[in-house]
Symmetry: C2
DNA sequence: TTATACCTGACTAAAATAGTAAGAATAGGG
DNA sequence: CCCTATTCTTACTATTTTAGTCAGGTATAA
């Protein structure tokens, strides 16, 4: 029921980018601002880009920016991307073949609730959360 | 964002006990019914008992039963007990000392949502989820 | 053409997870 | 009182996941 450090870094990076929506920011800069390990962040950003959440610019003065507006990206999408899934369940849908998995519906229900919640929170909503600048 | 196998077993055991609320059921019986590893379940049940969710009866014909009615135990309480916490955050409250942790409020917000959701689901609500008996 | 930044994949140490194993404590039945 | 069924407790272990590091390659602005 816990989000990994990796995901936390990713969320922080996304929020930082949302804060300066129009600018391209490098990994180095991001890592310094938010005190996150640079090379680790590099991997994470790469995943977020592959998932279509970020645009990258290579070469000098390169970096990343959000692909969509902060008002269009939900935190649920970010977390689902980094975490693989929002599902707290561990078994696949084929698990229903054995009735031993009576929790299936319970975990599904929990998942739906979490998904709904997180898909209702946009990056935009979180930028303002900080007393900042 | 995933619940451990351990927690899943615990939830299943709690639901099974809720289904036969008045009976004392042994670990062996529970493990067989739900096809869960017996000795592992033993540990889990022990934790649930220490947390005040179960009553145990030792000796022959012993076993466990819910301490409270299924209408009084929330799934949030069960998961929080087994998972340690419902918080997706990893840092403690002392983390605000360094402003690096700008995600704090975000994760807090997510936690509150999840907690609210899970604390609104009672064991009673889940017993009926199965097409059963 | 060079420095800057992204890109990629392999590697590693440490921690968490999912159990096992072994024995002690307790209580009911004969 | 003894045997057995059961919980209780602690220690151990193999596997997987996590949180990184590192080395080298690729694109591009200046």
């Amino acid at each position: 029921m816990r989000v990994s450090q990796r995901t936390e870094y990713g969320v922080r990076a996304m929020i930082a980018l949302a804060r300066d929506f129009d600018e391209v920011i490098s990994i180095k800069e991001l890592a310094e601002r938010e005190s996150m390990p640079e090379t680790f962040l590099e991997q994470i950003m790469s995943d977020l880009r592959k998932a279509g959440l970020l645009k990258s610019v290579r070469g000098p003065n390169g970096g990343f920016k959000l692909k969509d507006a902060p008002s269009e990206i939900t935190i649920g999408r970010v977390i689902a991307t980094l975490e693989g899934s929002l599902s707290p369940a561990r078994c696949g849908s084929d698990c229903s073949k054995q009735d031993g998995c009576s929790t299936r519906s319970v975990l599904d229900r929990i998942e739906r609730s979490i998904t709904e919640t997180l898909d209702g929170i946009y990056l935009k909503d979180l930028v303002g959360d900080l007393a900042h600048e």
